[in-house]
């Protein structure tokens, strides 16, 4: 795995007098350790500390303890590393390491955590949040409930209500229940609310979007969700809305006072009544291996997933083999000094590789269009071949696209490998009477394979997760009939995870998607282990 510029060491001058310029005194004496470099460091660290401290405080205020701890640890680590004389290597490693730990290592761990929960649509956040949401949905205006003069207030872009409760001004927003902020002697809506900006009534009346927002707005009366919330229809009077549901924290039940149904908190993270109906909002709980079991046992899921998995392996294998063979053949043909203009040819050959990959997929998506596409028009005499709608044709087409844009890579790699072949071995073989084919099979191919095997394995791992091509070309379609989560015939595992996760709309099931991610991680890990051993072996050769 050497980069061609390995000759630097040979061309470097031997212990060189020219470097020691005749100065009055050596650099070392003049250097006192507090030059402008130190100033730069100080300024940078001041900025880092300012933002870091801000982050820690913000996280503490938002009660996100994990984020607060992580920010504090990173900040302390940065200060320790950059303000001691020791830990020299860490001074260079820390910035990259911090990003690596947060945005890669932590992400992997978090994926594993999600895989063991029921996180997804209907199961977001804590039980407390689920109770508040359930009660909010069951809220009705009760005829006997009091109403107050109200004005719309705003603070840092967040809207809230201020009411006049018998001379006490109370203000709050969605996340902050009402609290007393001042006194007033006037009756009617508070005109001046300490800590909040009062939105003039004219603004409210003139802005339909704001009206929409205000009608949806609910400000809890207190921390206890059972006390209901203030809502308004006209922006000038607010009424207390009470939920027909009642939360009993000790018994862990929600009772519907209108119908008398009792919903009990279940282990699966939702409120379920005796007859089995559940409230729409649940919370995140640990479900153990349920997600993995579902992947393995749910027949509706298992069958399409088996198809997807099989195709993923076929896709990854063929995405390596076909372009490799093509690239090798082309490299063999044009590794001939008698062919003139090889440089220009090489540049033209690799153009598909230099064209952005996602753009190629989108381009071919149009070219393969059944009705108007240039491929049907040009090469199939205007026939109406449904490339993107037929499972097999779509698979062939997407492979074709991938071959088109990756064969130049192997062409380059193989050309490099061929040029590094020992010419004396080939000469000796031809003197011994070996034919072209024999030389290729016995000498060229093994040597090229030794040089390219690690690349082939890592390309396999890459194609295995090549989401962009699959998704851009045909969005994984055409759909497998009857499959849940819109799985399609060209979907590979990562695009299946995309479909299941529902991050781009649809029913979200983060837990199940993460469980599948974990399985793919394991597969990738096995492939990587193979690659690792292969590179080790290769190192021993050299």
């Amino acid at each position: 795995m050497s980069v061609p510029q390995g000759t630097v060491s040979e061309s470097a001058p031997p212990p060189h007098p020219p470097l020691t310029t005749p100065a009055a005194e050596p650099h070392g004496r003049r250097w006192n350790g507090l030059g402008w470099g130190f100033v730069v460091k100080l300024v940078l660290m001041a900025i880092v500390n300012a933002f870091g401290l801000m982050g820690v405080f913000a996280a503490v205020q938002a009660e996100s303890w994990i984020i607060a701890t992580a920010a504090a640890v990173l900040l302390i680590a940065a200060d320790v590393v950059y303000f001691t004389k020791r830990a020299l290597p860490l001074k260079y490693l820390l910035p990259g390491l911090a990003f690596l730990l947060v945005f890669q290592v932590f992400i992997f761990g978090y994926t594993a955590y999600i895989a063991f929960t029921n996180y997804g649509a209907g199961h977001v956040g804590s039980q407390e949040q689920a109770v508040a949401a359930a009660l909010a949905q069951g809220e009705r205006r009760i005829d006997t409930s009091p109403s107050y003069p109200l004005s719309l207030v705003e603070q840092g872009g967040e809207y809230g209500f201020a009411i006049n409760d018998d001379g006490e001004i109370k203000a709050g927003s969605v996340d902050r229940p009402l609290e007393v902020v001042g006194e007033t002697s006037a009756t009617g809506a508070p005109a001046d609310v300490p800590g909040w900006n009062v939105v003039p009534r004219g603004t409210f009346l003139g802005d339909p979007e704001l009206q929409e927002l205000v009608v949806q707005l609910r400000v809890p009366v207190s921390d206890d969700p059972n006390e209901g919330s203030i809502r308004t229809r006209d922006g000038s009077t607010g009424a207390v809305y009470l939920s027909t549901l009642e939360w009993d924290a000790d018994a862990q039940t929600i009772t519907d006072t209108a119908s008398g149904t009792v919903y009990t908190a279940s282990d699966s993270g939702s409120f379920v009544s005796d007859d089995g109906t559940a409230l729409p909002t649940g919370w995140v709980v640990n479900v153990g291996f349920d997600n993995f079991l579902r992947l393995a046992t749910d027949p509706g899921l298992l069958e399409p997933l088996a198809l997807v998995t099989l195709w993923t392996f076929v896709w990854a294998a063929l995405s390596v083999l076909i372009p490799f063979i093509m690239g090798l053949v082309v490299a063999l043909i044009f590794n001939d000094p008698r062919v003139k203009g090889r440089k220009i040819l090489r540049t033209l050959f690799i153009l598909p590789y230099a064209f952005p990959a996602f753009m190629s997929a989108l381009l071919f998506r149009g070219m393969f269009n059944a009705e108007f596409g240039v491929i049907n028009e040009f090469f199939f005499g205007g026939a109406n071949i449904d490339w993107l709608g037929d499972p097999w044709l779509a698979r062939i087409a997407v492979l074709f696209v991938n071959v088109w844009l990756t064969y130049p890579y192997y062409f380059l790699v193989c050309t490099g490998a061929l040029q590094a072949l020992p010419s004396d071995a080939l000469e000796a073989a031809s003197i011994d009477g070996a034919g072209r084919f024999r030389q290729f099979r016995a000498i060229v191919l093994p040597l090229v394979l030794v040089a390219t095997a690690p690349l082939l394995i890592s390309s396999f791992a890459f194609s295995f997760n090549n989401f962009t091509i699959i998704y851009m070309f045909n969005s994984g379609g055409p759909a497998i009939p009857g499959a849940p989560y819109a799985l399609g015939a060209t979907d590979i595992l990562i695009s299946a995870i995309w479909a299941i996760s529902g991050v781009s709309g649809g029913a979200a099931d983060y837990g199940l998607a993460s469980a599948l991610s974990i399985l793919v991680f394991i597969v990738v890990g096995v492939i990587s282990a193979l690659a690792f051993r292969q590179t080790r072996k290769l190192e021993e050769y050299q």
């Binding site: 913000a58 984020i67 978090y110 190629s360 108007f372 240039v374 990738v524």
Partner: protein, 297 residues
Amino acid sequence: MSTATVRPRSGRTTTARRRRWLLEVGWKYLVALVILFYAMFPLLYVVSAALNPRGSLAASNRLFAAFDLSNFAALGGTSYWTWYGNTLIVSGASALGAVLMGAAAAYAFSRFRFRGRRPGLTALLIIQMFPQALAFVAIFLMLLALGEVFPVLGLNSKLALICVYLGGALGVNTFLMYGFFNTIPMELDESAKIDGATHAQIFWRIIMPLVTPILAVVALLAFIASFGDYIIAKIVLVSQDNWTLAVGMFQWVSNQLASNWGLFAAGAVLASIPILALFLGLQRYIIGGLTAGSVKG
């Protein structure tokens, strides 16, 4: 493609020589033509579609039937240039960050001998094998949570996207750079140290100028990787004016493919020009980088 290398003396030897040439070399030019057609056809097609003022997919089938820049002009009426700018910002920042962090890490691994050096290298090698994209659900949920604390790092923030890309920067690039750094002789550092240079001076003044080729390669590869990324960009960037080209142009083609085709083609041509130019300009170095283990992203 001329055959007249030697002036022919007699008719028979010329025919024999020509036949031999055809058998051994001449056919290669024919093969080259076939490959050229295969490689170039889609590219010529997209250029031709970009120049076709009718702009629909069906109208683009006759190659170079028209020459008109109206599709390029029409891009001004869409969000294309906003996306272009976003892409340059995101890819440029992540390329710069990847180079700086990767170079610093490679310098540490190559020049210092410290406890945990070998395990660190091995850990990087292993982490590098697991694609970040597979964990997009966790990325989505983490940014959702982060955004409640620091909105600048939440969903729909370009900064957050850059941070996610930088998270993957160390693993992928350190090895490429580490190998290159090792080819710079240690004696250079040592003589500088004797002259009184600090480690920071050695890094910035001596090592960095010598490793410029690999810096360029890593920058280009990181640039291309974030340029072409769809999956993470799509979940992070929510609103249309924050989209990158990959997200925006996919939207064009997936909705009303037939009518947006001219716009797409013009946009594709414009977007690929800088990458093509960089790629061809740095070709020599990239081939070295490719053989050292990176794959197209």
